[in-house]
Structure formats: structure tokens, C-alpha cells
Symmetry: C2
Subunit: 214 residues, 2 copies
């Protein structure tokens, strides 16, 4: 029984890592699709999203089954409950990457915007890609220095998000309505991706230390 | 022990209902703040959000404590796990109402937009208010007819969301950049509120029937 439980905990953690890696890869590809107006890569993001959803479902099934059969306590209980929460945050991160890919696909063969707005959105996409990678590493390694780094990275995303708004609202920048709409939505998706990464960081701190996220 | 467990289950469900009612009230007020450019009501939404966050935290603490001490199974386990998930969805719904209130407050004493866009956003806000109310009733009563109604209501929100985009992108409508940005974000917040309501509906169906949400 005990050995089976250990194996199930291992499988749960492994599957969560796979989901995190998939959500990171989705943003890596979405960033590339956005920056290079790459239709094939945008399609890959969109097609791969169902795999992230499946991993989430799988984690939920495993977690609930373990709660029902094994009644874990203390840090094991935290691991299972955390997995149930993290799986849905990661699924949402995958969705946001998909939303970015939709916009990239919709404007192909152009990029959605150009000039300054494109430069900032590209930086946001790069930053989101970095954050996604750190989230996957944090979930795999439990190294809380990554949690701190994710929170700093999110601050950068928030700053860039504000920059997008000040440019978009400045009539000195020549922008079509479609460009304004795309810029606002892309910026929002990327900023939200960072917010979810911060939620992961806080949940992982709770998992590792047992202290409530603030 | 058994009686204490029943009491704790009752408290958990009661607190979840309170959170749902708070998230519904937040959107009711946010809709009023938006439609009537009412600063005081916008401030109420913003100030009340911390109460929703507190209720979420309280539900999480209760749920995890019950899992640790009582090791519930079958429908009791579903209730506890569902509460943990629903609490975070409801918290997010409260956040979205707060985002709507921020925009209303930022444009006071004007409304953020006028004309056709205002008319559609007002309908979306009314619809979101209705959805929020049904979510609270569904959580309180477990009446799955409300789950079906929420899914239909969300379709209406999605249609109105698309209408906003077609108007905003139409150069025939005279709109400032600020109006375009506000319309896109408000429409997105309200549409997302509906999406979360659908998640609640699916989770409640799982809770009541034991069948996985699709």
C-alpha cells in the first residue's frame, strides 16, 4: 500500500511537470508565431492545447482518486491539493498561449502590429516565454529561488503592459483600429500569463514550506 | 465525529454560498457603476473585493483541514474538492467585477463609452449580473436547471462580445482611442465572467451527478 502510494505520488508530480512543460512550450511557440508571423507554429500551439487539457484532467482524476483511497495527510496532502490547483492554473496558461496564437494566425502573413508596439509586445512575449520556462522548472525542482524570479519577471511584464497602453492611447502613434484592438488583447493575454505564473509561484511556496501564500 | 463532520460540511457549503453571493453582488454593483457612471458604487465594488478573497481563503482552510482530519469519500469528497475549486473561480469572478469597476471609476463622471457601444456593453453588464445571480442560486440550491440556463446566458454574452468587436473595428463609428481600449477590455472582462460562470455550472454538475464535466 505504502509503496503503491509513493508510486502514485511520483506519477502525479511527473504528470504535473509534463503539463507545466507543455504550457511553457505553448508560450514559447506562441511567442515565435507572434514575432515571426509563423502560421505553422501558431497552428501547432492551437492543436497542442487539447493535450494540456488532457493532462489537467488526468491530474484531477489521479488526485481525487488518491484522496479517496489513500487519505494522505501533512505534506502528502499538500502535494495532492496543490496538484489539483496547479493543474487548472497551468491549463489556463496554455489557453492564454493559444489566444496569442489565434491573433498571430488571424493576421498572417503580417504580424499583428509594427513599430514600437511590436517591439514591446515582442519583449512581453519573450518575457512570458522565460516565465513559462521557470514555472516548469519550479514545478520540477521545487527550487523556491525560481518562485522569487517569477515574481520579478511578472513585474517586468506589468511594466511593459502599461507601456503598451501609453503608446496605444498616444495619438502620435499611427495605429489602425485593428492594431489597437490586437495590441490591447495581446498585452492582456501576456500579462495574465505572468499573473498565473505568480499564482504558481505562491502555490509552490505553500507546497514546499507549508506556509500560506500571502 | 460524524455530527461534527456534518456541521463542517454545512459550514463549508454555507461559506461557499456566501462567496458566490458576494461575487454576484460585485457584478451587480459593477454593472450599475458602469451604466450610471456611479463613483460611489464603483468604490464599493473595489473595497468589497477583499471580503471575497477572505472567503476564498477561509473555504480553502476549511476544505484542507477536512481532508486531513476526516478523509471524506464519495459524494462528501466531491463536495470538498468542488468547494476548493469553486472558491477560486468565484474569487476570479469577483476580480473581474472589480476590473469593470476600475474602468467605471477611471472615466467618472463620464461613462467609458457612449452610443451603440455603450448600449451593448450595458446589455453585457446586465447579462453578467443575471449570470452571477444564477451562479449564487445554483451553488445554494444545486438545481441543475440553473446550470443549463447559465450556459445559455454565456452564449448571449459571447454574441454581444463579438458585436462589440465588429462595432469597434468599423471606422463608421466615431470612437476615441480611449473608448476603443475601454470597450475591448470591458467586453473581455464581462465575457470572461460568463466563462467562469460556465466553469461553475460544469463543476456543479459534476458535484451533483458525479459525472465528469465535458
Amino acid at each position: 500500500m505504502r509503496e503503491q502510494f509513493r508510486q502514485e505520488m511520483h506519477d502525479l508530480t511527473k504528470t504535473l511537470t509534463l503539463e507545466a512543460q507543455a504550457a511553457a512550450k505553448a508560450m514559447k511557440r506562441a511567442a515565435a508565431a507572434l514575432k515571426n508571423a509563423n502560421l505553422a507554429v501558431a497552428e501547432q500551439v492551437i492543436d497542442s492545447d487539447s493535450r494540456i487539457d488532457l493532462l489537467e484532467r488526468h491530474i484531477d482524476d489521479m488526485g481525487i482518486s488518491m484522496l479517496a483511497r489513500q487519505a494522505p495527510v501533512a505534506s502528502d496532502l499538500r502535494t495532492v491539493v496543490s496538484a489539483l490547483r496547479l493543474s487548472s492554473i497551468l491549463e489556463r496558461m496554455g489557453d492564454l498561449a493559444r489566444h496569442v496564437a489565434y491573433v498571430a494566425r488571424g493576421r498572417y502573413p503580417q504580424t499583428p502590429v509594427e513599430g514600437d508596439v511590436f517591439a514591446i509586445l515582442s519583449r512581453m512575449a519573450d518575457q512570458a516565454e522565460i516565465v513559462g520556462k521557470k514555472v516548469a522548472e519550479l514545478i520540477e525542482t521545487h527550487d523556491l529561488r525560481l518562485a522569487d524570479a517569477i515574481i520579478d519577471d511578472d513585474d517586468v511584464l506589468d511594466d511593459l503592459h502599461r507601456e503598451i497602453f501609453s503608446i496605444v492611447l498616444d495619438p502620435g502613434h499611427d495605429l489602425s483600429r485593428q492594431e489597437i484592438v490586437d495590441a490591447v488583447l495581446l498585452s492582456r493575454y501576456l500579462e495574465r500569463y505572468g499573473d498565473h505564473a505568480v499564482s504558481v509561484a505562491n502555490r509552490m511556496r505553500f507546497l514546499v514550506t507549508g506556509l500560506e501564500p500571502n
